[in-house]
């Protein structure tokens, strides 16, 4: 379980997060939703210790994020940030290979190679493995970054808008795979999604944020209602039903 | 705005101080009874004071213009390859026609400055438009590359001493009557810019607005290029390049009174004169009776000011 207690965050004089307390359940797929600038990325980055914690406490499976050595945390959670541009010119296979780094520290074993191959295969990247990052499309590069986080093989997977740049079929394939990791692999996933219907279709738990505060949490059926969503996005939003799950209708 | 009178008073006070400070003691009260002191005053102190004032004022105005030309606040005539261009022109004329007349050398310097500044402006126009900080970096590197060429030619032709005086010293200790008058041309050029101030304001608004208002941007750009080049060439020829004045003074003034050049150019000129004069005075007093070049003091002070400008929080928004 990820436990967040009394977390606040400032950048300069601007208050980005205001006294946030919540928990993300283990063995579930959690979707973080909310308008642009709500603080979703910031919260995810704080959990993933990409940003130093200013106030409050965060633990991931009992590991205190502020105290635990970073190398140890890298075997507990993998985080994929929103900005993935990197300066060095790497082949896709090399990039995904770095996902194994926390386990081998520069000396990959046969097992590591096998897992890299598995990750490449899982995201349909095997034919592109020898290409450089700047020689593939944005969506393919995005999949390579996800594959890298996947190869890290951690109990927790934190993804910030992983569906960016992905076409419909790859987006769905990613969700199916994440669902499978949670259901069969006993892993836990927390992800920021903008397309509410992906959260509606695949998530077990939804955390809605607005203006640096938690706006609502709970099961999709509780959070993804006309009332909550309309207040969350300051727009009148209609919600229907499809196969027993909420379906947000965009055509007003 | 009460800025102009205040700055004028301060400048007058510093100019008076500048007239009295130096190796020989000059008492302004008894000046008419002391022919020796009168001679020092007219031959050395007054020319030096005027030279410093003109240089500071003209370089600051040139700074405003180059910033308008490339539409970026973080450049100055010393970081656009302009001074190096003037030095190249001077080197060329010195090598090709060592005995040529003064006006020819001046012309060569101005031409060289114009060529390299035009090169800079062309390079800038090809940069990705949203990358504000790339412009000054490109300017600094271009200056560096041109400086390497100048230095190389200077070594090869044994003219390194001149190159050093043009580009790397920036001091007023050698100024006497008869050796600084070119700077009046720089002052005149700056005055010319003031006459066209409104045009430069419109140019700064961008090609579309300017065309919409019926302004021929090409002509205004040429005028700006001319003024920047002439000012820089005159300064390089007479006292050597002074760093950072043209960069920081326009920024400081613009922060206080905005960019309506008709109102702000006089303030820019006054503030520039004040800054350089203050640095020259510090240079004269710091290790008296020796002198520190004003350019060196400005190198430290100006860089500090620039870093502050670069990192200060935006005043609004």
């Amino acid at each position: 379980m990820i436990q967040i207690e009394g977390v606040s965050h400032h950048i300069g004089t601007a208050q980005i997060l205001r006294d946030i307390s919540t928990s993300l359940p283990e063995g579930r797929l959690t979707a973080l939703i909310g308008p642009n600038g709500a603080g979703k990325s910031t919260l995810l980055r704080l959990i993933g210790r990409l940003e130093p914690l200013q106030a409050g406490r965060i633990t991931v499976d009992e590991h205190d994020v502020a105290r635990c050595p970073t190398g140890c945390l890298a075997r507990v959670m993998a985080i994929l940030g929103q900005q993935t541009a990197i300066a060095s010119r790497l082949r896709l296979s090399e990039l995904v290979g770095f996902g194994r780094w926390p386990h081998h520290q520069g000396r990959p074993s046969a097992d590591d190679h096998a897992r890299v191959a598995e990750a490449l295969d899982a995201f349909a990247l095997t034919p592109l493995a020898g290409r450089f990052l700047d020689e593939v499309s944005g969506g393919q590069a995005q999949r390579a970054h996800i594959a890298m986080a996947f190869a890290q093989d951690t109990p927790w997977l934190l993804l910030d808008e992983p569906l960016n740049n992905l076409d419909m079929s790859h987006a769905r394939a990613l969700m199916v795979r994440l669902r499978g990791l949670v259901a069969d692999g006993g892993r836990s996933v927390a992800m920021v999604v903008h397309e509410i219907n992906y959260a509606a279709a695949w998530a077990d738990h939804v955390v809605a944020m607005k203006d640096g505060r938690i706006f609502a949490t709970g099961a999709p059926a509780e959070v993804l209602t006309e009332e909550v969503l309309s207040a969350l996005y300051d727009a009148s939003i209609r919600v229907g039903q499809h196969h027993g799950r909420p379906l947000v209708l965009h055509h007003a | 705005m009460r800025l102009v009178p205040a700055l004028s008073m301060a400048l007058a006070a510093l100019m008076l101080a500048s007239l009295t400070v130096g190796a020989a003691n000059v008492d302004l009260r008894g000046i008419f009874r002391d022919p020796q002191a009168m001679l020092v005053l007219l031959e050395s102190r007054l020319p030096r004071t005027l030279a410093v004032t003109l240089t500071g004022a003209a370089l600051s105005v040139a700074g405003v213009l180059i910033q308008v030309l490339v539409r970026n606040r973080f450049v100055g005539p010393d970081t656009s390859g302009t001074a190096e261009g003037a030095a190249l022109g001077l080197l060329a004329i010195t090598i090709l026609a060592p005995t040529s007349a003064l006006w020819l050398r001046m012309g060569a310097a101005a031409l060289g400055a114009m060529a390299t500044t035009a090169l800079f402006v062309t390079v800038i126009r090809r940069l990705p438009p949203r990358e504000v900080m790339l412009v000054p970096i490109a300017g600094l590197v271009l200056s560096g590359v041109l400086g390497a060429v100048v230095t190389f030619i200077g070594w090869q032709t044994d003219l390194m001493q001149y190159v050093g005086a043009w580009l790397y010293s920036g001091e007023f200790s050698g100024v006497i009557a008869g050796r600084y008058e070119l700077l009046w041309i720089a002052g005149l050029a700056a005055g010319l810019a003031w006459l066209a101030a409104d045009r430069f304001v419109i140019l700064a608004l961008g090609q579309q607005v300017a065309t919409g208002l019926g302004l021929s941007t090409a002509a205004v750009m040429r005028l700006g290029l001319l003024v920047v080049s002439v000012v820089t060439a005159m300064v390089v020829t007479t006292v050597g390049m002074i760093p950072f004045v043209g960069l920081v003074v326009p920024n400081l003034v613009s922060r206080i009174m905005g960019d309506n050049l008709r109102a702000s150019l006089p303030v820019v000129a006054l503030a520039g004169a004040l800054l350089v004069l203050a640095c020259d005075l510090i240079g004269r007093l710091a290790i008296h009776p020796y002198e520190l070049p004003a350019g060196l003091i400005l190198g430290v002070l100006g860089a500090g000011l620039f870093l502050w400008l670069l990192h200060k929080r935006p005043s609004h928004g």
């Binding site: 945390l73 075997r75 010119r89 | 990358e131 790339l134 000054p136 590197v141 390497a148 290790i287 870093l307």
Partner: protein, 317 residues
């Protein structure tokens, strides 16, 4: 052997051939021992400087996650010059000259390492989101350090004109031979440590977020790399003076030739390429063209143009 292995072997062979050419070509009958000794000293200096500049640049580019930067563009060498001048100023010229060369150099390296880690560590940590502003800050800091060094030099010795000049230009001709053994030792140590860090550097090159996510102790590694960069810059600056853009060419070539981001290959490749360029270039200019002073200028000129080219292509990151 894989592709990288063959490439490194080829570079080693090329360097060996160039070294042999340098040592043996035109060796007359008389006084062979003396000439060979002289040539060997210079060869060693060129190789050391090449390796130091190359490794420092690659390390720095990795730390800054940026392919257009070199430590010199960011003001490292100017900082070293300033430290040197400050130490001379605080001990007094005569007293300082009397100290043993090796001890002086090592203490300069120590001060440099501490200061550079503090200054550039902060700058890199703060500048992550706005790379161009960070570069500009570094460049201006360099200008400021250089001016401060000139300033101190002037105060120490007001009649000296050459101080400001000598801190501005590199020369592969006037190598400081006293320092060769200690410089070789520092370089070997730093390069060895860099190679040991190579796998972690590969992760660092993924950028801060990815590196932290993979469990790298990011801050510590950045500081360690900056410390190595400082020591290497101190070596090259002490031996030949500031070389701003050479590293840029070398790192660019190394990336192009190695076609891998693995530092275990990149670092030695860059070092070998740099050594080959310097030895070959010096041979060409000194022996064939009789223009011993030219190499540094040509290298700087070409490097500066390469930098402008990268800027124009929008390759700032």
């Amino acid at each position: 052997m894989d592709r990288s292995g063959w490439m490194l072997a080829g570079l080693v062979a090329l360097l060996a051939a160039l070294s042999a050419l340098w040592m043996l070509q035109g060796l007359g009958a008389g006084n062979r021992g003396f000439v060979l000794g002289l040539r060997a000293g210079k060869l060693a200096a060129l190789v050391i400087v090449g390796a130091a500049v190359a490794v420092a640049t690659v390390l720095f580019q990795t730390v800054a996650a940026n392919r257009v930067l070199t430590p010199s563009i960011m003001g490292f060498d100017a900082l070293y010059v300033l430290i040197q001048t400050t130490l001379v100023a605080s001990f007094g010229t005569a007293a300082y000259a009397g100290l043993p060369a090796g001890g002086k150099f090592l203490s300069e390296v120590a001060v440099m390492t501490a200061l550079a880690c503090l200054l550039f560590g902060t700058l890199l940590a703060r500048g992550g989101r706005d790379v161009p502003r960070m570069i500009l800050t570094g460049v201006i800091l360099g200008v400021m350090f250089r001016a401060m060094a000139g300033f101190l030099g002037r105060i120490m010795d007001p009649s000296e004109f050459a101080v400001v000049q000598s801190v501005s230009f590199a020369s592969f001709n006037r190598v400081n031979a006293d320092l060769l053994p200690i410089a070789a030792a520092v370089t070997a140590l730093a390069v060895g440590l860099a190679l040991r860090m190579a796998p972690r550097l590969d992760v660092l090159a993924l950028g801060r977020d990815a590196a932290v996510s993979l469990g790298l102790r990011h801050q510590a590694l950045v500081l360690a790399a900056l410390a190595l960069v400082s020591a290497l810059v101190a070596v090259s600056t002490a031996l030949v003076g500031p070389v701003a853009f050479f590293g840029l060419i070398v790192a660019g070539l190394a990336h192009a030739l190695a076609r891998t981001a693995r530092h275990r290959v990149l670092l030695p490749a860059a070092a070998l390429i740099a050594a080959c360029l310097l030895v070959g270039g010096q041979w060409l200019f000194e022996r064939q063209l009789g223009q011993a002073a030219t190499l540094s200028v040509v290298v700087e000129f070409a490097g500066g143009l390469f930098f402008l080219y990268l800027l124009l292509k929008g390759r700032i990151r």
